[in-house]
């Protein structure tokens, strides 16, 4: 009846390092169920990450994994995909890794439409390094480096990805755990650069500073702020204020980068 996660986890690696109530474990379970649903070969799947709490994920997964420098996960993953196009490449990381330090790599990977899936676990903070504010920390929220409230407006990762040219963009939350694997499976099936943003909770460095009483309260906040994109069309604008849309937000078909690059190489070779 239950799902056997153990066959995808490196023996002896659990328990993981994430704090009590951190949503990253829920997202990791979703990723495992998605990989299981698609029956991906362990030796043909690469999971790449940068630095951060979320980027610890590949260490637990029994696949080809790469733990790279801060923000550079997409750059390394691009290298893997270019050299070995038969690999299924999954990039994972947090909001700081993905859209702050790795922001440049992120938008250019979106633009190129290279065939990989980027899972961004957005917990609104730099958790591992002590709770500094990130580009997705909400306006007015407290972080260790914004003790009087964050004066910056946050990035909308999904809109950023759509604007930069990603061909599949979806959003879920750690509360909607059963949806995570469906979004990820759909993203992995998609040919082109697919971005899945999962809104996550960081009880230790974000929750405590922002007056969340418990892990469960943080989870319920994710529940309250999420509106399925299919339901949003029928809702008046004032009801959507302060909410985030979840589900598959954008999907289109465009030429894929690796294929285009190979075609270019063949054309130039033929021309001699």
């Amino acid at each position: 009846m239950g799902f056997d996660y153990d066959k995808y986890i490196r023996p002896g690696k659990l328990p993981h390092i994430w704090c009590p109530g951190c949503g990253h474990g829920i997202v990791m379970k979703g990723l495992i169920r998605a990989i299981d649903a698609l029956e991906l070969d362990k030796n043909k799947t690469a999971i790449v990450s940068g630095i951060g709490c979320a980027s610890r994920l590949p260490g637990y997964m029994d696949f080809c994994t790469l733990h790279t420098t801060h923000g550079r996960a997409v750059a390394f993953a691009t290298g893997i995909k270019m050299a070995r196009p038969e690999m299924n490449v999954i990039c994972v990381g947090g909001d700081g890794d993905g859209v702050a330090i790795g922001g440049n790599h992120f938008i250019h990977a979106c633009r190129r439409n290279i065939d990989m899936t980027y899972l961004i676990m957005n917990n609104n903070i730099y958790g591992m390094t002590g709770g500094q504010f990130s580009p997705t920390t909400p306006y007015g929220a407290k972080a260790s480096t914004t003790p009087y409230g964050n004066p910056d407006p946050p990035f909308d990762i999904a809109k950023l990805a759509i604007g930069a040219g990603a061909t599949f963009v979806a959003r879920g939350t750690a509360f909607h755990a059963a949806q995570i694997d469906k979004l990820l499976a759909e993203a992995m099936r998609h040919k082109g650069f697919s971005v899945v943003e999962i809104l996550d909770s960081c009880p230790t460095t974000y929750g405590r500073r922002n007056r969340f009483k418990s892990v469960v309260e943080m989870m319920n906040q994710l529940k309250d702020m999420a509106v399925p994109v299919t339901a949003a069309d029928k809702m008046p604008a004032e009801q959507l204020r302060g909410k985030v849309l979840t589900g598959i937000l954008y999907k289109e078909s465009k030429p894929e980068y690796v294929e285009e690059y190979r075609k270019l190489v063949e054309r130039v070779r033929a021309e001699g």
Partner: protein
């Protein structure tokens, strides 16, 4: 006919006591016992799998 109950296993080595399984169980089967979750009232279990699905620590397994 006697109701066949599922089996809920909680790995105490993995459980970090975050309360998620206890709070999201719709029939209040689980409780906190010390720092970890424990089964309190298995008869009420409807095998909805919410505890297993939501546990961030891979600590809860529902079988049977």
């Amino acid at each position: 006919m006697e109701k066949k109950l599922p089996k809920i296993e909680i790995n105490e080595k993995y459980c970090k006591g975050c309360h998620i399984c206890v709070e999201f169980c719709p029939t209040r089967v689980l409780e906190m016992r010390g720092f970890t979750a424990a089964v309190k009232n298995l008869e009420a279990c409807i095998a909805c799998m919410q505890c297993e699905l939501r546990c961030p620590d891979f600590a809860v397994t529902v079988t049977g």
